[in-house]
Amino acid sequence: MPPEYTIGYVMIAATVVLGAGFIFTALSARKGPDDYEPIHHAGYAVRRYWFVGVMCLGLIGFAFTLPHMANPLFRTPSPNDATVINVTGQQWSWTLSTDTIPANQDVVFRVTSDDVNHDFAIFDSSGNIVGQVQAMPGYVNSLYYKFSVPGTYTIRCLELCGLYHTAMVSSLTVTSAGG
């Protein structure tokens, strides 16, 4: 399952749980008014556990996701193994030094811009983002990726860059290893 779908399901679950909590609380109000002092007292006792629980959730999420961030600091492959593709964005097209690469090969996209900010995003054949990086004038951002599935990938701009932003499309062909 693409990571985006997993994220979507997590969000649905969170919305259902949190929404149910608010609806339950709103409906509970019909039963009152109860004396606030005992509720306040019990609430403060619960809040300590709530605080620890929320903090633990945050720490676990932080520790679990940190090693997977896209920044090159966490993803640098051996330079000898990587195929370098130079990418330049300009209003409103992409220029790639090559548009065909073999599968299962480490690739480094060295991305920049000739004019304004663009966002170099690679979509698989199903339309899911597999990786992205900003293309900023005056800077080179390196995006590392290894394509395991051969096929045609679509490149789109995800940073509003003027009137024909949506037309800034290109493609990348990933061939079977050795083929």
């Binding site: 109000a29 996701t65 940190l66 004019d115 304004v116 004038p137 860059c161």
Partner: protein
């Protein structure tokens, strides 16, 4: 050692003359009426954007101009409307000068006019974040003349100035009322010298407003720098500035401005929800410390907007993630949890004011969850600049901050105009807005999880079609609620601008009824 007697005695709450009261009342009425009309209009512009994406009824040129108007307008109007609702709620506790309200109104109105002209007449279409150097570099087929860029930049500066003026006046009035900043921000309560809830101490609304005031003033400095640099560069495009540095400055200020909205909403909730739940929400030690923590942590998460700029040092990404997660703690553990306790088995009657406020807490919490997911660098790679982003910010802005605002307005209207807004229209309108609004944000989140880009005038991706149709339907449902409530707002407020019925505070009416009069 300090003793209670060593504390400077509090200056009494302001006692306004009838003429001062009437002038302030009229000014607040003007603020509410203007804000209501603009918010409703901008919400309908949002509906139009969804219509363009679904049907292509207007050109790309119009789409980006309207997108910029909708974004900039909503940020500006929501911010100032929330700030002035807080102002109105605090006016009986702090000596807030009406002349300052007039100045802020003039600055805000001028800012709004400039944005409207730049976008509708000039088709300025960079999105509200005006990322450098796009405003001066519209491209080979230019969407706008760069002369309009000046108008937009000046409009942003005027808005930041208006909010800074608000901040200065809140601090000035707070320090005047309490004698020193420490007591305004609850230091005497935290150190145990004064008990929370004492009528002479600060309260949660004052503390929240005070923290936002400090941050608002702090935001003006980088904001002013970026505006000046961009004006220079627009005048002479051969003058180049580092794009990453400018982006940092824009997102520092932009992130702060949007965060002010939700925190000012919380300030309103502190004042309104207890009235209807009939339960106190004093400035307890934990709440005060939570706001001090927010005051520090609000500055740091903005780096999460630059995760995909790998030129930014990875250490800042890590700080951005840690600060984003940490900044949620005070809100989730103190304010949102506190609201749930206040409501739980309270017997509260769900009239529009508390209904909007409590709905705002749901929008804040769920929208915040979506924001935290996006603030995770490993996940941001899949969500950055997709419709997930408008998904989470519409949830905590439209279904969070604006709900707090409406709750505050429904609460304050009888005090301002002498008569309430229609409870029936408010309740029906709220249901339309909540049902339609949650459908809209649901389609945003779903589209984001399906990797649909944001800010696309036309989305050349077939699987977006269903989400666009459902989203449009949701926006139409919410639009009915917006029109109903805006109409009722004008019905009550417009006559109140022309004539001056003496305000009839609800407690006075209740007291009279108790006496059988």
């Amino acid at each position: 050692m300090a003793t209670p007697t060593s504390i400077r005695p509090p200056i009494a709450p302001p006692e306004w003359s009838p003429a001062e009261n009437e002038a302030a009342r009229r000014m607040t009425v003007v603020w509410v009426a203007t804000g209501g009309v603009l918010l409703a209009g901008l919400a309908l512009v949002g509906l139009l954007l969804r219509l363009i994406q679904s049907t292509g009824v207007l050109s790309d040129h119009w789409f980006y101009a309207l997108l910029t108007l909708h974004g900039a307008g909503m940020v500006a109007v929501t911010l100032m409307a929330l700030a002035m609702t807080v102002w109105a709620l605090l006016r009986n506790e702090l000596p807030l000068r009406n002349s300052v309200s007039v100045i802020m109104y003039a600055l805000t109105l001028l800012s709004g006019v400039l944005v409207i002209v730049a976008t509708l007449a000039g088709k300025f279409g960079t999105g509200w974040t005006f990322l450098y150097p796009l405003p001066e570099h519209p491209g080979p087929i230019a969407g706008w003349n760069t002369g309009w860029t000046y108008l937009y930049l000046i409009a942003v500066a005027l808005l930041a100035l208006a909010f800074a003026v608000w901040g200065f006046e809140i601090l000035h009035a707070g320090i005047k009322r309490f004698g020193n900043p420490g007591r305004m921000f609850g230091l005497d309560i935290v150190t145990g010298r004064t008990k929370p809830g004492d009528p002479n101490t600060t309260n949660p609304t004052i503390i929240a407003a005070g923290v936002m005031a400090v941050e608002g003033i702090a935001t003006v400095i980088p904001g002013a720098v970026v505006i000046i640099l961009m004006i220079i560069s627009n005048a002479d495009p051969s003058v180049k500035f580092p794009a990453l540095v400018i982006k940092e400055l824009i997102y520092f200020s932009g992130h702060m401005l949007v965060n002010f909205d939700i925190y000012l909403g919380a300030a309103i909730a502190y004042a309104v929800l207890p009235v209807y739940a009939k339960r106190a929400w004093p400035a307890a030690k934990t709440l005060i410390v939570a706001w001090w923590v927010i005051g520090v942590l609000i500055i740091l998460p903005y780096w999460h907007h630059l995760y995909m700029d790998f030129a930014q040092p990875a250490g800042l990404d890590i700080i951005g993630q840690a600060a984003s997660y940490a900044s949620a703690l005070p809100s989730v553990v103190v304010t949102i949890f506190g609201a749930v306790l206040i409501v739980y088995r309270s017997g509260i009657r769900w009239s529009p004011a508390p209904l909007f406020i409590f709905a705002g807490f749901a929008g804040w919490t769920i929208g915040g969850t979506g924001a935290l997911i996006d603030a995770t660098p490993a996940l941001n790679e899949y969500l950055h600049n997709t419709l997930w982003v408008p998904g989470h910010f519409h949830t905590y802005m439209a279904l969070g901050a604006v709900m707090f605002l409406l709750g505050g307005v429904y609460h304050a209207t009888p005090l301002l105009t002498g008569r309430p807004l229609s409870e029936r229209i408010g309740s029906i309108g709220a249901r339309f807005i909540l049902v339609g609004g949650w459908i809209v944000v649901g389609t945003f989140f779903t589209s984001g999880a399906l990797s649909i880009p944001r800010r696309y005038a036309y989305v050349p991706i077939p699987r977006f079609a269903d989400a666009a149709t459902v989203g449009l339907a949701g926006a139409c449902i919410a639009g009915v609620g917006v029109v109903l409530i805006a109409g009722d707002l004008l019905r009550v407020y417009v006559p109140s601008m022309r004539s001056a019925p003496p305000p009839t505070p609800a407690p006075v009416v209740a007291a009279a009824e108790d006496l059988g009069q």
